[in-house]
Symmetry: C2
Subunit: 204 residues, 2 copies
């Protein structure tokens, strides 16, 4: 039983949780998942290890919360796309923000660390795969509507393939942010916008 077992009041608890996630993200990125300890995370978060355990059972639970945050962002975006008048143009309008977020070096480093850990740790693999399944489900709804609005009637495999291409493009930017930190973001945004329009208009 964690030392601080009284139920925290919700806004304060949210702030604490966010502090822990930010501190853990820093530690995972700079030390690696295995090199980061709850003791270090608690030091950076400015609270006791007991406090951390009050919110998270272990480091994997923290990873799950970080992955859930990213998932929420995608779900909010796909929900907003589904109510747009012109879904395709609404999606193109999100490209600049998506490129910027994906290239942010700290987020990129953390993402790559979580994926590298998922490649060797079945629990972390389960976390990222479950989130990805939900993310693909939401994107599939959006893309199917968008393609129907454009007069295309795709089979499930084509929609799933389009999601893979989109996901690869944006997820690949984490890698580009590390390999070529000086890349010209404005040109990348322009070409991503063009590539997205082409992909969404393809006759597969």
């Amino acid at each position: 039983m964690p030392p601080d077992s009284a139920p925290p009041d919700p806004p304060r608890a949210e702030v604490r949780r966010a502090q822990i996630l930010a501190a853990a993200g820093d530690c995972f990125r700079s030390k690696g998942f295995h090199g980061a300890s709850i003791a270090q995370i608690s030091r950076i978060a400015g609270m006791s290890p007991g406090h951390i355990y009050h919110y998270f059972e272990n480091k994997e639970a923290i990873i799950a919360a970080i992955v859930a945050q990213d998932l929420e962002h995608v779900l909010a975006m796909t929900a907003s796309l589904r109510v747009a008048c012109n879904m395709k143009e609404a999606m193109v309008e999100h490209v600049a923000d998506g490129v910027e977020r994906s290239l942010e070096p700290r987020a990129a480093g953390l993402n790559l660390e979580i994926l590298a850990e998922a490649a060797r740790n079945p629990h972390v693999a389960d976390i990222v795969r479950s989130a990805d399944r939900v993310c693909r489900g939401s994107l599939a709804l959006t893309l199917r509507d968008l393609r129907r609005a454009g007069g295309h009637d795709d089979d499930e495999a084509t929609i799933a393939g389009m999601i893979e291409v989109l996901a690869a493009m944006f997820e690949g930017l984490a890698s580009r942010s590390i390999r070529n930190p000086e890349l010209d973001r404005s040109v990348v945004v322009r070409l991503f916008e063009g590539a997205l329009r082409d992909l969404l208009s393809q006759n597969p």
Copy 2:
């Protein structure tokens, strides 16, 4: 001075080096760069730590050799593209192989581990950035020729941006291979081929 200091005969030395790189790749992927030790690598490679040090000064030198191997593969591909009659179609023909290689889970896990390490270790960052610079230089020559053959006269920034989009797409497949191991490769290849044709024909 390493114990085995006589110069090894070249083919045998090549085999030894390849054994070490394969063993080190396994260790880095399964234990992480920091968790992997020269002692473990030597056990998996079936040779003494002294032998390993005969070929590589330290773990970073092994990473440099792994990155150099990948770079060589890209340089060989771009060189073969530059002598093709129809460069664009030759490039499209390489898509299936590129997708397959990028999705291979062991290679993907190792790549992600190297990138995660590069995000926190300036020496490893230098290694991947130098290789990426060479890779981009070679791709730029190829793309400029290819686009000129198609009647486009692009500025340097556009060529550099196209390279970023291509690189993001293929590098992002490592992430997709971890997040969605069941993805339908044949659909991804078909859509990547379409996306590549569109990108190479864009009027930016």
